[in-house]
């Protein structure tokens, strides 16, 4: 692979006068000031991805990468504005869930026939990864990971509550059992059973979605009918609200506060994504952090079938770059190939790799806690594709927050959510 890249780079260097191509790159994941170029030692999503980008800029001949300043919360708004203004970044990250919208409008370059020449072997991608970047028969990006919701566990609190067996946490198999175990934790430790961001990002939404999928239900069907005001949704919501009512979980914590509560040792469980596994591992090793004995678990099955919310990060190139600037397009492809080659480094975050060769490697298997959540890949789910994915998530987040933060009745909230999602699907 490397030879192929070097060969391609040499060929490119010979073919064009030796002017360095500057590739602009946009990404979320947050800022990392001094990421360096060592892709093996950086910690946390922001620093790991930036170290890979820095290394790409340093190691690819004739290509420098300029990372544009962006903000997590407004990333897609910024990206859309850039596309609409004709100033799209040459390379950018996005979610699988946004492919329908961007590729559907012709914004993304079809890479189907360019990947092999750039040294990207699509047959090494897991089928679900290929599926994630495919749209209407074309390949519109290079997948980087599968990420999903996990349960992050404070084993000391679980042990005090007697909820550890053979070194593994005992997880609930039904909503009733969850409440019973939650009370055991509260009685034994005085701490909350479960923390999550129920007040800011749609992590609470993903929790409810998972519990709906576990009952074989979904929030809307492929033909565009909203199905939110249902018994399955009510069961899912009450499985969570019973924890708030019993005082064993706090709905008012946002992302940072819920994470801090878990790290302080104030909650036995944190529902959050794969992206924080290495960060929490590093934090738990610190003396001053309340969390000492950290483990990870697959999202437990509280109903009939296993399911947890999942998505994919992927890298794409604008269609306009491929059409108008073939040289820079080749440079952008090299950056994508470099990121694809460093998939195992990205997996250090805790994300699941998209490459079969990486998954089979010893380096991957030896990553911290990797063995704790091997079941997640097979229960990964998401809503049907929709151009209004972001708006729909927002409706659900608002109505669910109304339930647990403002005491809106479950029936009214689900009814309002269904009507509004239907409006969005019909628009």
């Amino acid at each position: 692979m490397k030879h192929l890249i070097i060969g391609a780079a040499l060929a490119a260097a010979l073919a064009v006068p030796a002017t360095a191509q500057e590739v602009t790159l946009a990404r979320f994941f947050g800022a990392c000031e001094d990421a360096g170029t060592d892709t093996k030692t950086s910690v946390g999503e922001a620093c790991i991805i930036q170290s890979i980008i820095n290394a790409a800029s340093e190691q690819i001949d004739g290509v420098t990468v300029n990372t544009l300043p962006t903000d997590w919360g407004n990333y897609y708004d910024q990206l859309k504005a850039a596309y609409a203004g004709g100033t799209a970044p040459d390379v950018h990250v996005m979610h699988r869930s946004s492919v329908a919208e961007f590729a559907g409008l012709g914004a993304l370059a079809d890479l189907t026939d360019d990947l092999a020449a750039a040294g990207i072997d699509t047959t090494d991608w897991a089928p679900a990864a290929l599926d994630a970047v495919s749209f209407d028969g074309g390949i519109y990006g290079v997948p980087m990971d599968f990420h999903a919701n996990l349960w992050h566990v404070n084993m000391d609190l679980m042990a005090k509550a007697g909820l550890v067996q053979d070194g593994k946490p005992i997880l609930p198999t039904s909503p009733e059992e969850m409440l019973a175990q939650a009370k055991m934790v509260k009685d034994a430790t005085g701490q909350d059973y479960l923390a999550a961001d129920f007040a800011q990002f749609p992590i609470g939404v993903r929790l409810v979605l998972a519990l709906m999928w576990q009952q074989g239900a979904n929030i809307f069907s492929e033909d565009g009918t909203a199905t939110i005001n249902t018994d399955a949704a009510r069961n899912a919501v009450t499985a969570i609200t019973q924890l708030f009512d019993a005082g064993v979980a706090n709905p008012q914590l946002n992302y940072a506060d819920s994470q801090q509560a878990f790290l302080n040792g104030e909650a036995a469980m944190l529902v959050n994504g794969t992206w924080v596994v290495d960060f929490y591992t590093a934090e738990a090793a610190k003396e001053e952090v309340g969390l000492n004995n950290y483990q990870v678990a697959d999202f437990p099955t509280l109903f009939d079938e296993g399911a947890t919310w999942a998505d994919s990060h992927m890298w794409a190139i604008p269609a306009s770059l491929k059409a108008n600037d073939p040289e820079k397009f080749q440079a952008a492809l090299k950056v994508l190939a470099f990121i694809n080659d460093h998939n195992v480094d990205w997996a250090r975050t805790g994300h699941m790799s998209v490459r079969k060769s990486v998954v089979a490697s010893e380096e991957y298997a030896n990553l911290p806690h990797r063995a704790d959540y091997t079941g997640t890949a097979s229960i990964a789910r998401d809503t049907p594709p929709s151009e209004r994915y972001g708006a729909i998530q927002d409706v659900l987040n608002r109505e669910l927050q109304a339930i647990w933060l403002t005491g809106k009745s479950v029936d009214t909230a689900l009814g309002d959510a269904e009507a509004e999602v239907q409006d969005l699907l019909d628009r």
Binding site: D77, K80, F102, E399, Q401, A419
Partner: protein, 365 residues
């Protein structure tokens, strides 16, 4: 000198010279304000997807006022005089009061007319509601307008009162006072991102200053930004802290225009302290107060950053404001036509307040 200016005078008449001097301003004004405004109105009459039209200019479709209807109207909307009793009675009361005040000669004609019209709008608008089986096409729009009004209604008096109190107490020629004036103005120069970051930390229930103080006195900390009862208050407090400076400077300028003689004459009649403030300072500051209030109203209708960065419009949409909704509709949902229709609505509101200021300012001359 004379030799040089004379020929120039011959070349350019007075109005021509004026036109020449106005040209730079007018060209920028037309290009960057007037043209985009009419373009916005034009977009609001189309079904216009931000990305689709960017890639294919023909992807838009003329739909007339359909965007306005979808945003502001609904199915089976009816009007009744007591649909929102509190607001409507307030409006009715305001209209009657302004008429009575005009009759008794305490309000000028135009002022009474302006307040009366505003009050009648307050009586009419909240009376619309969906009848049986009816619904608003966009159920978030009017609540969002309501939130924006609440925000403006709390922030403007808050800023005006606190800036007035500060200005009066800092209006002295000592070094300490000028240092304090600078300090109070300092928050104004910060950008909205910095201001909201500072206050997010202040309001944080885990590490915030406010939570620490409440805990010191044995209270349990308020979760300001995610509690329905406090979220709006939190962004109002932040905004007052942030935009105090300009109002304070305007008041200080107004205060320095009041002649010392008035206070000396008042002192002879035992009007000092609070009485001097009430009978001398306030009446003389009337124009400045009107200016500050109208400027603040126009400014705060455009609130965006505080709501977007501190609460994401939540919880349960209680801090969702108009500009944030326009932004979401335009960029997240790519629905530029609909977003423009809302923006035109916002323009009408702010335009009305600008006209009001114009009317009030002329009357006092």
């Amino acid at each position: 000198m004379n030799k040089q200016t004379k020929p120039l005078r011959h070349v350019l008449g007075q109005s021509q010279a004026a036109a020449l001097l106005l040209l730079p301003f007018m060209s920028v004004y037309l290009l960057f304000l007037v043209y985009p405004f009419f373009r916005g109105v034009w977009i609001s009459l189309h079904d216009w997807n931000l990305l689709a039209v960017a890639f294919n200019p023909d992807a838009k479709e003329f739909v007339g006022v359909s965007n306005y209807i979808k945003v502001m109207w609904g199915k089976n909307i009816i009007w009744s005089p007591l649909a929102s009793p509190v607001l409507q009675l307030m409006g009715l009361g305001g209209a009657i009061t302004s008429a009575l005040l005009h009759r008794s000669g305490r309000l000028g004609r135009t002022t009474a007319l302006a307040i009366g019209i505003g009050a009648i709008v307050f009586f009419i608008l909240p009376g619309f509601h969906p009848g049986e089986g009816g619904r608003w096409y966009d159920r978030r729009f009017w609540p969002t307008v309501g939130n924006t009004l609440v925000f403006v209604g709390l922030t403007v008096p808050g800023v005006t009162l606190s800036a007035l109190v500060l200005a009066v107490s800092l209006n002295r020629e000592t070094r300490a006072m000028s240092v304090l004036r600078t300090l109070f103005f300092l928050s104004q120069v910060l950008s909205v991102t910095v201001v909201t970051l500072i206050w997010q930390i202040m309001f944080s229930p885990r590490q915030g200053l406010i939570a620490n103080v409440t805990e010191l006195f044995g209270g349990s900390p308020i979760v300001w930004l995610t509690d329905e009862r406090f979220a709006m208050a939190a962004i109002v407090i932040t905004t007052i802290w942030w935009s105090l400076g300009i109002a304070m400077i305007l008041f200080l300028a107004g205060l320095q225009d009041i002649s010392r003689d008035l206070y000396e004459a008042g002192a002879l009649d035992h009007a000092t302290g609070v009485r001097a403030f009430w009978y001398i300072t306030l009446p003389n500051l009337k124009r400045t107060i009107t200016l500050v209030i109208v400027l603040q109203i126009i400014l705060h209708f455009q609130v965006f950053g505080q709501s977007h960065l501190m609460t994401n419009g939540g919880p349960n949409d209680t801090t969702q404001v108009l500009v944030r909704y326009i932004y979401q509709t335009g960029f997240r949902d790519s629905d530029l036509g609909r977003a423009s229709a809302m923006a035109v609505f916002l323009f009408v509101i702010m335009g009305a307040f600008s006209v009001l200021q114009f009317v009030l300012g002329r009357e006092e001359d």
